[in-house]
Symmetry: C2
Subunit: 299 residues, 2 copies
């Protein structure tokens, strides 16, 4: 089987072809430009690959409500040309195959549930903490959409007592993204996170905000696994700091051995590593293929 | 059809009999004592009622993971005799009918989804704000359990700038329950909420904490409806304060007309009023009956 996968980020696109076991056989990456340029490259990439289905995990907000006139669109974004762009429709005109369509973080959560760190459980949260912060939500075996789709990266925060950084989210100032994204680290400390040593106070503060959000998300949604990915989480020394702070926050209230005595396997990096997003899109494509086959739309 | 319903609270139990349309035909209420006394009354109530199924919404934490040795139990609680009490098993020994079993707040969320304010949508949050604070989570047409079950009442809070009340949650101090429950209002202001006039500063502060939690929960889970119930929410003047503060918090970020221009119908009181919990248990019982019938266990 040949499943197409598109990890559509605000900064770059990754397109790939993989199989039903989650193996990516080929991929390319290019910067996100205006939709006509970018979609031209996407279509050119898949043109000779004859995919059986295509899955897309897209930056957003996007339209996910089936039946809505904006289903398949990128809805509101400051990125030139992408506001109200019919992402899915554009591809459907070129490829007559089943399509999977969800947010980039939901795709990654799903990929992790199918082949990664959340394989074998029915729920997980997937955080990406990088240029922005996003949270994919997979509960009771389903990706959560609801009214629009989760936007957990913008959760309100309780301020760290030593932190006077105002936050840089244009909507909320000191929400999670405003305080803990890569650009927030750089704006607060005057240097990129990658240039700060592991014993720099930036990391204790970073762990404080991430752990606060994870604690609240665990209380709110009770996931079986919390997966932390994205550029900032390449700093592996953050994991023990975050786990310790989550334990401190919950203070024994959630009486699950997974948290109380095995938090090292509860709050984890992506099992699919840097490929979580692309494999997630692949998993969405595979699911779309299987659903279409079940319904008789493909043989 | 005759469906039994049990709303098992930490302070009082309500038992009732209702039909498949959500109509409660008879009910009784008694204080929660030790399990042997309380369960004796429950069993006596249903003994001559010949229910076709029984649904239970219970205070917790409770065991919900099927296959776990603690499935059907109240797990950890300071209430004398209830810790590790086999609630479901005790009833199953007396009544050989299908049982529904979930938390009190999940039951209420489900009742609201079937017959109440969230009828016709696939997701809602049900808050109860009273002696404690709890949040039932219904997403993509399913009640959320995950690792244990949601405990959103204990979300961390950002402190109101004029509030120096330390909070009274024994686990977290100033979590949502610690700051916004009925006992927190009374401890902070020296009077019960019901005795404070609508223009008392207590209410702006109360709305601040509730709205903060609702904002974060909306960002995290994207529900189609947010239902606020419980004793504190009997103060109807809280609703406009909360809606306004949620709108201020989100600041236009969640681009859904339901929030932007119709928040009066988005953050609402229970459609089932004070019966949300009992009707929710009824809905769980009805669902258990239907599942058993589908699987051939009852005819």
């Amino acid at each position: 089987m040949r499943i197409g996968a598109i990890e559509a980020g605000g900064t770059k696109f990754v397109c790939g072809i993989g199989n039903e076991h989650g193996l990516i056989e080929d991929s390319i990456s290019f910067p996100t430009e205006r939709p006509d340029v970018t979609m031209g490259k996407v279509i050119a990439y898949f043109a000779d690959k004859r995919p059986d289905a295509i899955g897309i995990g897209s930056f957003g907000p996007i339209g996910l409500r089936s039946g809505s006139p904006l289903y398949g669109y990128v809805t509101t974004t400051p990125k030139p040309g992408w506001e109200r762009f019919d992402f899915l429709g554009t591809l459907k005109r070129s490829f007559h195959v089943p399509f999977g369509w969800d947010t980039d973080v939901n795709a990654a959560a799903y990929g992790e549930a199918v082949w990664g760190a959340a394989k074998g459980v029915d729920s997980c949260l997937y955080y990406t903490i990088g240029t922005g912060v996003g949270v994919g939500v997979y509960m009771e075996g389903r990706l959560v959409h609801g009214l629009v789709h989760p936007e957990g990266g913008h959760m309100l925060t309780r301020r760290h007592p030593q932190d006077d950084f105002p936050g840089l989210c244009p909507y909320h100032g000191d929400c999670l993204e405003g305080m803990a994204s890569g650009p927030a680290i750089e704006a607060r400390w005057g240097r990129k996170g990658a240039e700060l040593p592991p014993d720099h106070p930036a990391w204790e503060m970073e762990a404080y905000y991430i752990a606060q959000s994870v604690s609240t998300a665990v209380l709110m949604t009770s996931p079986e696994k919390v997966i932390l990915g994205g550029g900032v989480m390449q700093q592996a020394h953050l994991f023990p700091l975050i786990r310790e702070e989550v334990r401190r926050n919950l203070n024994g209230y959630v009486s699950a051995e997974e948290i109380k005595s095995d938090i090292e396997h509860y709050i984890v990096p992506p099992g699919l590593g840097q490929q979580a997003g692309l494999c997630g899109a692949l998993a969405l494509g595979l699911r779309a293929y299987e659903r279409a086959r079940t319904s008789g739309a493909v043989s």
